[in-house]
């Protein structure tokens, strides 16, 4: 017989399955009816008797059906569904254990999902453009600098355009921030992409209206034009269908709208407004042109390697021809999204996330292994009986696998759901806060890859949790397992594997718990503490001034002009703001109270001072303080009283002045108490006030006044000692503007602030407007981290408790007979239980000891202040807590053990 025919016939039968069942039924029914008929006719029996005989001679119908099913090779399907139903019933029967297991694994799955989703998006993003994988970026790496030393020269662009065959449509862009001003609406700050026309051709997205940029627009002297994105079109022009030709003001210049891009278009990074890139290489000295980013598209048929080879050749030629600028540059071409990836912060984050996830999964795996090991150990007898009755090994393993699959499947579903929600939230936060930093192709969400990964995890989990223990249990002889049910009691020994597992689990729990507690405590304290002053009344923003135009990026030569202009504009803005009703105070500073700009502080020992010299002398690492430059009115605006000395006066802001003010924490921590006035201090690194940068010494400053601290620490880890310089107007850019608003919520003034700023000068730009309240509470990343740690800890504790419960349960069940006998002989219940639990309690104690040691070491190395009394107390509390968990877990089994009647225990004999 041809195997083709056979296979075809088999396949046909396989896929006709639902049909088959009824067909088999019908055939059997027909057969039995015919046989009944025959018996009636031939032997004259009545119908009922004939039918009975027919059935008897036919044999068991169900058995035949099963044989047929097995012959078809589909028996395992029905068996599987039966096992799944059994598994579900088992899950429901032990709700506590199941809940703990499912939740614990679900947390791990959720975290795995999120990290996988994030990593997948960040590491291997796909550009959602036509043939997006062929869009590339080209950059010059500086071989001398190991960090981000990229400088893509304007002049190289022309060279590359000429010589690089493998890449077509080479273009470039740079981003500038400007005010977007339309007469009717409020001004806002946008990040404009100045781009060559080829950028639109590379993206291959046709405009919604009008046209996009072309080479004509790039000419110097061409009329200023702008292409706007869909959102700008809707919000600024109300979707006007005749928007082409209307005017839009960017900064100080007017532009004509020539096109609208469709919704979702944000090439090159996350931009909504595009103007032509008008940088002529001949205007600049080679090596000192503005930085631009170069991109292109691989020519049809070209590969990345070919492009790199050509590029390297060009680079070598350039290095030979212009050694003074190009000797150390190594050009390279890479897929476009990768150009954003190589920043060191991202790589660090990626590794950190991976580490955390692996640790977590190991932890959870350990926990679940304990749970399951315990469960399987109690069922060796049942497994032996089934095997003896004829169940094949495959069937037994299959059943245990199905049970485990139900557990892990439930966990996977819950975890996937939670992970999806988290990813969505992450995406929303990124879109809101990241703004221009998050590229348009990075969207965090569930991809088919993630779902597959989770499904794989679930199956793998079920294999580990169900199949492996079952395989081990069915490996031995049947009678060994049967003995378990008999008088000999259990021969299953809780070996070293189990001991190690329990100890490890307890140790890790003890190690993690203190950190989680500290973290949550900090977060709660921070949340509930509040800043101590009415932060909701303050509106903060950063004031930028655009220094537009051609020229070098290094503003050294025009520094003083810019500073003067900035100072004038600031002054004008402050005047107008103060004139506004509802504004109680306007104050400028180098940074907000929540910003941390701390430097190492050096104290001059020569100015004789009484008091202990605990601060570091010149050169020693010692204390740090936040350094700010503030206006004289700063302290009054925040209601900070002066404690000693004098406030800032006009003279303090002049270039040679040396007066500084410190706060009380500074006196206590940096100066070690004692008399502060007249002491001289300086920040150890280069002083930003003077622009001649010597890395070592700056001038000494004399303390002329002491103010109180901000009423409560504004952030848990912001250094409280502060050093205030008098601000030189115009020298600090950008400057932090704080308004105290009376009579209305501070946030309502934001629009007016922008209007006033633009009215003073369109080149003045307001960024990051928010109330001080929001700024102080905005530790979004911290909050997420804390939440994750809390969840992880909770799941770990749950699983830990469940594992210990299982352990205790096992330990007691193992020694039922012994307990019964000893109780019968008159031993007190306490002693009996104590001896039984002693082993388990020992394991827990070892685990606690290990965990405490590990935490202690971690605290020692990581914490800045070393181990203090508070930490020790916390550690002890955690240890006691774990012991308490262990004891609590033991209560149930212990009570069961106490209720064992001696007769019952002995009955087995």
């Amino acid at each position: 017989m041809s195997w083709v025919d056979a296979t075809r016939a088999r396949l046909r039968l396989l896929f006709a399955r639902p049909d088959d069942e009824s067909r088999v039924d019908q055939e059997f029914r027909f057969h039995i009816e015919m046989e009944t008929e025959r018996l009636v006719q031939e032997t004259g029996l009545d119908r009922q008797e004939a039918r009975r005989r027919a059935l008897v001679s036919f044999g068991g119908v169900e058995k035949h059906r099963e044989v047929l099913r097995e012959g078809r090779g589909l028996a395992w399907l029905t068996d599987m569904s039966l096992d799944l139903k059994l598994g579900l019933r088992m899950l429901v029967k032990y709700p506590g254990l199941s809940l703990a297991g499912v939740l614990g694994m679900a947390v791990a799955v959720a975290i795995g999902t999120v990290s996988f989703g994030v990593i997948y998006t960040v590491i291997d993003p796909a550009l959602p453009l036509d043939q997006g994988d062929r869009v590339v970026a080209i950059e010059n790496l500086d071989a001398r600098r190991s960090d981000d030393g990229r400088r893509t020269h304007l002049h190289d662009l022309a060279t590359w355009r000429g010589g690089l065959q493998a890449v077509e449509e080479l273009g470039a862009y740079r981003t500038v921030d400007r005010n977007l001003i339309t007469p009717e609406n409020r001004p806002e700050s946008v990040r404009i992409a100045e781009m060559t026309a080829s950028g639109f051709r590379v993206a291959r997205v046709p405009p919604l209206q009008g046209r996009y940029l072309n080479e004509e627009d790039e000419r110097q002297g061409a009329p200023p034009v702008v292409v706007i994105g869909y959102d700008v079109w809707q919000s600024r022009f109300a979707g006007d269908s005749r928007v082409i030709g209307r005017a839009l003001q960017l900064g100080a210049s007017q532009h004509t709208v020539i096109g609208v891009m469709p919704q979702g278009f944000a090439f090159p990074i996350n931009n909504r407004v595009w103007t032509p890139l008008r940088l002529d290489p001949s205007d600049f000295v080679p090596g000192q042109s503005p930085s631009i980013s170069v991109f292109g598209r691989l020519a049809p048929g070209a590969t990345l390697n070919e492009a790199q080879t050509q590029l390297t050749t060009i680079g070598q030629r350039l290095a030979a021809d212009h050694p003074e600028t190009h000797q150390h540059l190594r050009p390279r071409v890479l897929p476009y999204p990768r150009a954003f990836m190589d920043s060191p912060e991202l790589a660090w984050m990626f590794h950190l996330v991976q580490l955390v996830v692996s640790m977590l999964l190991v932890l959870v795996g350990t926990n679940v292994a304990i749970l399951v090991y315990a469960r399987t150990a109690t069922r060796t007898g049942e497994i032996a009986v089934r095997t003896a009755l004829g169940a094949s090994r495959g069937r037994v393993v299959g059943q245990l696998f199905a049970e485990a699959l139900v557990l892990s499947g439930a966990a996977a579903v819950v975890g996937l759901g939670a992970g999806w929600l988290a990813l969505r939230e992450f995406d929303a936060v990124a879109a809101r806060n990241g703004g221009a930093q998050f590229p348009f192709w990075m969207h965090f969400g569930l991809s088919p890859g993630v779902v597959l990964y989770v499904a794989g995890l679930a199956v793998l989990g079920a294999v580990i949790v169900g199949a492996v223990p079952a395989l081990r249990a069915t490996r031995g002889q049947v009678h060994g397992g049967l003995q378990q049910l008999g008088p000999g009691g259990w021969k299953v020994r809780l070996g070293t594997t189990w001991t190690v597992l329990v100890v490890a689990q307890v140790a890790v729990t003890v190690a993690i718990l203190p950190w989680a507690i500290v973290g949550v405590d900090l977060w709660l304290r921070h949340r509930m503490a509040g800043p101590g002053f009415p932060a909701a009344e303050f509106l903060t923003a950063r004031l930028h001034m655009d220094r537009e135009g051609v020229g070098t990026d290094d503003a050294e030569s025009r520094g003083s002009d810019i500073a003067v202009r900035y100072a004038n504009l600031q002054g004008e803005l402050v005047r107008r703001l103060e004139a506004e009703p509802g504004i109680a105070d306007v104050v400028l500073a180098s940074a907000l109270p929540s910003d941390e700009e701390n430097r190492r502080i050096e104290v001059d020992r020569e100015t004789g001072a009484a008091g202990p010299e605990t601060a570091g002398g010149s050169g020693s690492a010692g204390h740090r303080a936040g350094v700010y430059r503030v206006e004289p009115g700063f302290f009054r605006a925040f209601d900070i009283p002066l404690l000693a000395g004098r406030p800032f006066q006009a003279g303090d802001a002049s270039p040679g002045a040396t007066g500084v003010i410190v706060n009380r924490s500074f006196v206590e921590e940096v100066l070690g108490g004692g008399h502060p006035l007249g002491r001289r201090v300086r920040a150890a690194s280069r002083s930003p006030e003077t622009s001649h940068g010597s890395a070592q010494a700056g001038p000494w400053y004399e303390i002329v006044g002491v103010v109180a601290d901000f009423p409560r620490p504004v952030k848990p880890n912001v250094f409280e000692p502060k050093l205030y310089h008098a601000m030189v107007a115009g020298a600090t850019h950008p400057v932090a503007l704080t308004l105290r608003v009376r009579g209305a919520p501070a946030g309502s003034f934001a629009d007016r602030l922008r209007e006033l700023t633009v009215a003073v000068d369109p080149m003045l730009r307001i960024e990051s407007v928010s109330t001080l309240d929001d700024v102080l509470n905005q530790d979004a990343a911290d909050q997420v981290l804390i939440l994750v740690i809390a969840l992880v800890t909770l799941s770990v504790v749950l699983l830990s408790a469940a594992g210990i419960y299982a352990l205790m349960s096992c330990a007691i069940s193992l020694r039922r007979r012994e307990i019964g006998i000893r109780t019968a002989l008159g031993a007190g219940p306490g002693r009996v239980i104590g001896s039984v639990l002693s082993r388990a309690a020992r394991q827990i104690a070892i685990g606690i000891a290990v965990g405490v040691t590990v935490t202690g070491l971690m605290v020692q190395t990581l914490a800045r202040e070393g181990v203090d009394g508070r930490d020790v107390v916390l550690l002890l509390a955690v240890a006691a807590f774990m012991m308490g968990v262990g004891l609590l877990a033991a209560v149930g089994p212990a009570r069961r053990a106490l209720r064992i009647q001696p007769t019952e225990a002995l009955q087995a004999e």
């Binding site: 017989m1 041809s2 025919d5 056979a6 075809r8 016939a9 088999r10 039968l13 067909r23 088999v24 019908q26 055939e27 059997f28 027909f30 057969h31 009816e33 015919m34 046989e35 025959r38 001679s57 036919f58 044999g59 058995k63 035949h64 044989v67 047929l68 012959g71 078809r72």
Partner: protein, 111 residues
């Protein structure tokens, strides 16, 4: 091919009986068992328990096919019939059987 777990001879002879019966005319399962009984004058009684598995096995092997049909008294039954491959196999099996029987006879007859 389906695994032959039980004694080869028994299974083989049942297959042979079925194939031979079907070579005469297409028939349903009950009919096959009745026909065999008739043709052997009551000596061979087909075990119901093995009949249908054998039919399924032969169908999976592609030697027979089945279809719904109606009996004489208007009942719905599943009719089996030989395929070309089945006819070929029947020929082979008959040949094997004859050779086997002959050699067995020869051994038994020699003294």
């Amino acid at each position: 091919m389906a695994p032959r777990a039980q004694t080869d001879a028994l299974r083989g002879s049942l297959d042979l009986l079925i194939l031979k019966t079907l070579s005469l005319a297409p028939m349903h399962g009950w009919g096959i068992s009745q026909r065999v009984q008739q043709m052997s004058a009551g000596v061979l009684e087909v075990n119901q328990g093995s009949l249908y598995p054998a039919l399924q096995r032969l169908e999976q092997g592609g030697l027979i096919t089945s279809d719904w049909g109606t009996t004489g008294n208007n009942r719905r039954a599943r009719y089996y019939r030989l395929t070309a491959a089945g006819r070929r196999a029947l020929g082979n099996e008959l040949e094997n059987w004859r050779r086997f029987a002959a050699s067995l006879n020869a051994v038994l007859r020699s003294t």
